[in-house]
């Protein structure tokens, strides 16, 4: 969106209250959604719950194509559609809800930097493991991604997406990395997050912010998803404060609503779709 259009939209957004029928769209929970998409979607859901804004989660096979930027999840509020955590946070801020207003300038800078760290390292690692590791791609990613489609479209779409992701990896310099190096990067990222969190309940002490939502989304998904090997989950489990952080957010924000909503969906994110 151009800057003028954005300013106009945010003015309109600020005028309306949060509607009852707000909806969040993501790919199909049981069969189609992938690790990285689920992590992003969970992050947005966590953020909305932290702001106390109700939203319905709707699963559609073509969510990726419906989204204005091509990335999931996106929310549909009134007559506006906003995708990805960053713009959603801005949009909600225009409506008057914000979790990071109480932070000082330096803290805001750190928050943004750590959010970029998660995007740059964790999300890229997830994409790498899903699409560039041939084992995982063959057994889990391609079958899941193409499950709503019939032959031959399923093969075409799956390979097209894989090719696109591999090109992106090459452009940012991750193509030359081995799987072990990627796991090492994930470990470093978790170590950084763990050190920043320390013994506090949330990253900026008493109140959760969008950074907490984003970290929760990614770490919870990694911990509860079964891939071809357990190594990714093991890297996160090395840091006990991150584990208790995830548990804390799950208990505070997800358990009072339907308890089964996230736990059941994540346990099914495995190869085949058998319950583990």
């Amino acid at each position: 969106m151009s800057l003028a259009a954005e300013a106009f939209v945010s003015q309109i957004a600020a005028a309306e209250p949060w509607p009852e029928n707000a909806a969040l769209y993501q790919p199909l929970k049981d069969d189609q959604i992938l690790l990285s998409d689920h992590a992003s979607s969970l992050a947005v859901q966590a953020y909305l719950r932290m702001c106390n804004l109700p939203v319905q989660v709707a699963c559609r096979a073509n969510a990726e194509y419906m989204s204005p930027s091509g990335k999931v999840p996106f929310i549909h509020i009134g007559n506006q559609v906003v995708s990805e955590l960053g713009p959603i946070v801005q949009f909600i801020k225009a409506k008057g809800h914000s979790l990071s207003d109480g932070l000082g300038e330096v803290q805001k800078a750190e928050m943004k930097a750590y959010m970029e760290l998660v995007n740059n390292m964790l999300l890229t690692a997830e994409l790498y493991i899903q699409w560039c590791d041939e084992n995982t791609a063959k057994e889990i990613t391609r079958p899941r991604f193409s499950s709503p489609y019939t032959w031959p479209l399923n093969h075409v779409l799956a390979y097209q997406k894989q090719w696109e992701v591999r090109r992106k990896m090459k452009a940012i310099g991750w193509a030359g990395k081995t799987l072990d190096q990627v796991y090492e990067d994930v470990s470093q990222c978790c170590q950084a997050l763990s050190q920043r969190l320390g013994t506090q309940p949330y990253f900026f002490n008493k109140q959760p912010t969008e950074l907490d939502a984003l970290v929760f989304g990614h770490l919870f998904t990694i911990l509860t998803t079964q891939l071809t090997s357990d190594e990714l989950g093991e890297k996160v489990k090395n840091y006990s404060n991150l584990l208790s952080f995830c548990r804390r957010i799950e208990q505070n924000y997800f358990e009072d609503h339907d308890k089964d909503s996230i736990t059941s969906s994540t346990s099914r994110l495995s190869k085949g779709s058998s319950l583990m």
Partner: protein
């Protein structure tokens, strides 16, 4: 524990210009880190990436581990060799380093790539001209356009946009993210000398590597530069690092223009030789034309007696009087 005496590693990087030790952000990052950590490196400043051991710049040629090319890997290698600028950082500061480096790569680097390689005016007048002038023949016809298409590809893939022409929309978004990033860096730096106190660390190397070209290279079309100049503490920070660690390079810049005639001038301005070459080429061309004219007979000089030509039947011995008589008539 015996320490193995090995030859110092060799670093190949792009050469510099106008007070900068190098024009490429990655090379600057590695150079700055090496200075901060006190690593003894033999630096080769070249303008031909094909001469580097890995085919790209920067490249570090080590005696044991082969050659490395990305700045990230080079810094890890130097750290393993005990040249660690982050030794004194606390665990939290180490975590902050990773986070801010990610911030730089996600928010500032795309805008820099845009400003130097995609924005048409800047690309044509500054970037392409510099690379075309400094890369040796015949690579200077091929490499700048290849680097341009790499940069364009990278931006397109990272942003997930299919339409990344040098138009206003994409530019505004990229620049907006970059302004925010620079403002955040400025706030984090505050009034300190370096990001983590009084001694520089790897984060300083990365920030310096990205900001220094933006500060020093004169771009015709650059709101990014103006924004940077409005953030005083970042400008002072870059100049401070340049003065403290790279003052040899800074003085070499303008002084290098003076000894130009003495150096084998394939890469530099050839002003004194230009005139001579022009004169010689004109001379050669004239000589060729005249020679051709003579050879084919368009112009010919008759060596025969002019009297035979004018008065064919007269006897030769009376030539002198006859001519006079003839001329008198």
């Amino acid at each position: 524990m015996r320490k193995k005496m090995s030859a110092p590693s060799e670093l190949y990087c792009w050469k510099g210009e106008r007070g900068l030790p190098s024009v490429d952000p990655d090379c600057l990052t590695v150079l700055a880190y090496a200075k901060f950590a006190g690593a003894p490196l033999k630096v080769h400043k070249i303008a031909n990436p094909w001469r580097s051991p890995t085919g790209s710049l920067p490249a570090l040629k080590t005696s044991e581990d082969g050659s490395l090319s990305q700045p990230h890997k080079i810094i890890i290698h130097l750290r393993k060799q005990k040249y660690n600028a982050d030794y004194d950082l606390s665990a939290k500061e180490g975590a902050d380093t990773l986070a801010f480096i990610s911030l730089l790569e996600e928010k500032l680097l795309p805008a820099l790539i845009y400003a130097f390689w995609v924005d048409s005016k800047n690309y044509v007048e500054v970037t392409r001209r510099w690379y075309a002038e400094n890369i040796p023949f015949p690579l200077n016809f091929y490499l700048p356009t290849r680097m341009h298409s790499h940069a364009l590809d990278r931006l397109r893939l990272v942003r997930g946009d299919s339409g990344l022409e040098p138009g206003d929309e994409a530019e505004k978004e990229l620049y907006r993210d970059a302004y925010e990033c620079m403002t955040l860096l400025s706030q984090r730096l505050g009034t300190q000398k370096f990001f983590f106190g009084d001694f520089p660390s790897s984060l300083d190397a990365y920030v310096f590597g990205q900001l220094a070209p933006l500060l020093k290279v004169k771009l015709p079309n650059c709101k990014l530069q103006q924004h940077l100049k409005s953030l005083d503490n970042l400008c002072h920070y870059c100049s401070h690092i340049l003065d403290l660690y790279f003052q040899n390079e800074a003085s070499d810049g303008p002084a290098r223009k003076a000894p130009t005639p003495r150096e084998d001038g394939s890469d530099f301005d050839n002003e004194p030789h230009k005139r001579r070459n022009q004169f010689l080429s004109v001379l050669v061309a004239l000589g060729a034309m005249v020679g051709y004219a003579f050879l084919t007979g368009i112009v010919s000089i008759q060596r025969s007696d002019p009297h035979n030509a004018l008065h064919g039947r007269r006897a030769p011995q009376l030539a002198g009087d006859e001519v006079d008589d003839e001329d008198g008539e």
